[in-house]
């Protein structure tokens, strides 16, 4: 009886593991095969490394190395936005946690609401605003909206609320440190875990964002990889028979598209694995005491 229950439990968990992992595994194996082999061979078979390099040459040749541009753009947008986010949200979280100024509560509430509100809800309003200011189609029209990351401010706020006892700050002040030095000497050195956490969430969110760059950028040379992938999709004949002839001439078939998708998630996957432990704690750490 107990054994059966345990078995059922494991079978359920394993079945879900297959559901979550099989598509990822397929994606990793797909570029090792040619388009025909994808159809004829077993879905989880390994082709050859030669096919991978062939697929890469096709992908790289597409539209004059545009794939490299897309990856480069995405790195540029995500890293710049995340750098601004960090520079802004760590002090802001500190100020909100240990400060006392009029409007503090209001800033906190607005931060909280814009953090919980789905980001996509603000995309069209931001587009309309930037459009009226004629700021469409620039790198800054992606980076600056990305840099507004209220979740980062909230994480820093929650962290400083519990990480620094006010008496520590008083001690620093009594030693003759000004407010700025107090922050630099006491708060900033303690910020390491929060920097890692904010970096993770901000970088991943920016890297994966599709809607905002799709809306505010017009030139395909400026696209981040997410929008670039949609461009590639339109050139893949198996998904878009209209591109049939085009598919032949640009050599973008399913293995190339799979490789493009796979390479596009590598940076996020690296960040994921690196921060797995911190994440599992951090996701809940905010308001629940463990």
């Amino acid at each position: 009886m107990r054994g059966a229950a345990l078995g059922l439990r494991l079978v359920t968990l394993a079945a879900f593991a297959v559901f979550f992992i099989a598509p990822v595994l397929w994606l990793i194996l797909a570029p090792t095969k040619g388009d025909n082999a994808l159809v004829t061979s077993s879905p989880f078979s390994f082709g050859s490394f030669h096919q991978v390099s062939l697929a890469w040459r096709h992908l790289d040749a597409f539209s004059d190395h545009i794939y490299r541009h897309w990856i480069g753009n995405t790195l540029y947008y995500s890293l710049s936005a995340t750098a601004i986010t960090l520079a802004v949200s760590v002090p802001a979280g500190y100020g909100l946690a240990l400060g006392s100024f009029p409007g503090r509560k209001l800033v906190l509430s607005l931060t909280l609401i814009s953090m919980i509100m789905p980001g996509a809800a603000l995309v069209l309003p931001i587009f309309l605003e930037l459009n009226s200011l004629h700021l469409i189609g620039r790198a800054a029209s992606v980076i600056l909206p990305f840099a507004f990351f209220p979740f980062g401010v909230y994480l820093a706020y929650i962290y400083y609320l519990s990480a620094i006892p006010p008496s520590l700050l008083d001690a620093a002040r009594a030693d003759g440190a000004g407010e700025l030095q107090t922050f630099l000497r006491v708060a900033l050195p303690l910020a390491k875990p929060i920097v890692a956490l904010v970096f993770f969430f901000s970088f991943v969110a920016d890297w994966n964002n599709f809607f905002l760059p799709y809306v505010v950028l017009a030139d395909s040379n400026q696209y981040p990889i997410t929008v670039g992938l949609s461009n590639l999709l339109s050139s893949t004949p198996s998904f878009n028979p209209a591109a049939g002839g085009g598919g032949q001439s640009v050599n973008i078939f399913r293995p190339e598209l799979a490789l493009a998708t796979l390479l596009a998630v590598v940076p996020v996957a690296i960040v994921f694995v690196l921060s797995q432990r911190a994440l599992v704690r951090g996701l809940v750490g905010g308001s629940v005491k463990e």
Partner: protein, 304 residues
């Protein structure tokens, strides 16, 4: 608490020595422009556009009525409601179920499964959609037998038949997001004091009884959080139908979801006021969701 430090020689430090009641404000200042320009201003501007016409004249609810009567408005909202409902059911049943199953397991096994479930989160957005376009293509999918038996699809176009889309999008969203929520729920379950569980066990409760009558009520507010947040997020659906539209040769309309309709109004018809009206509809849903979470679940602290 004394706020008066000795005079600093550093330039720019003068402000920091201001009255104690302004303490902390300088640190928040660099953040405020971002909050105002990309949080508050677009919201106000969208509301302003939604209630005016091209010439800037006040038109009351005209834009809302006009977009409501658009023949694409009803179907788009129906689609996202059906999609969101399916997704929420999947989340509540399986996220909570799997978290409870994992919580009873030994540390190692549980951690491995949590990590496996979490991996697809790295493929959020466009990448996930592409992966699932492959999975839905019977000619290459490892699950082609499922596509034939469950969806009756022999070719890709049949897989993404309009009637299937809400289910497909719900499954993609579940695939990418469930792992993260399982981690959250698992973390919440860990906050339940072990002696509480021990006491229930001594009282003769079995593992299922403990899960349902003790654990479930204790993570109720996290479930509420997940449901409200996912509801608000679900209504904003954009990238999934947009990509499927591109891969379907127009079989799937480019106004499948409400956000797509707003996008089309703005980009194809340059009807910014109509687009703003729909954006405000969606913004209102998001806002109500956010306010509910903050005021009702008590999960987020705004005071110390």
């Amino acid at each position: 608490m004394s706020a008066s430090g000795p005079i600093s020689k550093h330039p720019g430090a003068t402000r920091k020595r201001g009255p104690r009641r302004l303490r902390g404000l300088p640190f928040v200042l660099p953040y405020l422009p971002l909050l105002i320009v990309f949080g508050i201003a677009p919201t106000i501007y969208a509301i302003d556009l939604a209630f005016t016409n091209v010439a800037g004249g006040w038109v009351g609810f005209h834009n809302f009525v006009r977009t409501y009567n658009d023949y694409r408005f009803g179907p788009a909202f129906k689609h996202i409601l059906v999609y969101t409902s399916i997704w929420l059911c999947l989340l509540v049943v399986f996220v909570v179920g799997l978290a409870l199953l994992l919580h009873g397991r030994a540390g190692r096994v549980s951690a491995t499964f949590r990590f496996l479930f979490y991996i697809p989160g790295a493929l959020a957005g466009a990448a996930a959609v592409l992966v699932w376009l492959f999975m839905l293509d019977p000619s290459v999918s490892p699950g082609s037998f499922l596509l034939r038996d469950v969806l009756g699809a022999d070719i890709f176009a049949q897989s993404i038949a309009p009637g299937n889309l809400a289910y497909i999008f719900a499954m993609i969203a579940f695939w990418t997001g469930a792992g993260g929520w399982i981690v959250v729920m698992y973390g919440a379950l860990n906050t339940i004091p072990p002696d509480l569980e021990e006491a229930a066990r001594i009282d003769g409760a079995g593992p299922i009884g403990i899960a349902l009558r003790l654990k479930l009520p204790l993570i109720r507010k996290w479930i509420a959080y997940m449901v409200i947040l996912s509801f608000a997020t679900g209504t904003q659906l954009f990238v999934e139908p947009q990509l499927v539209n591109q891969a379907s040769l127009g079989l799937v309309p480019d106004t499948w979801s409400s956000n797509q309709l707003a996008y089309q109004l703005a980009f194809r018809y340059a009807d910014f006021n109509g687009a703003a009206a729909i954006a405000v509809d969606l913004l209102a849903i998001g806002l109500v969701g956010a306010v509910l979470i903050v005021t009702r679940t008590g999960l987020f602290r705004t005071d110390d």
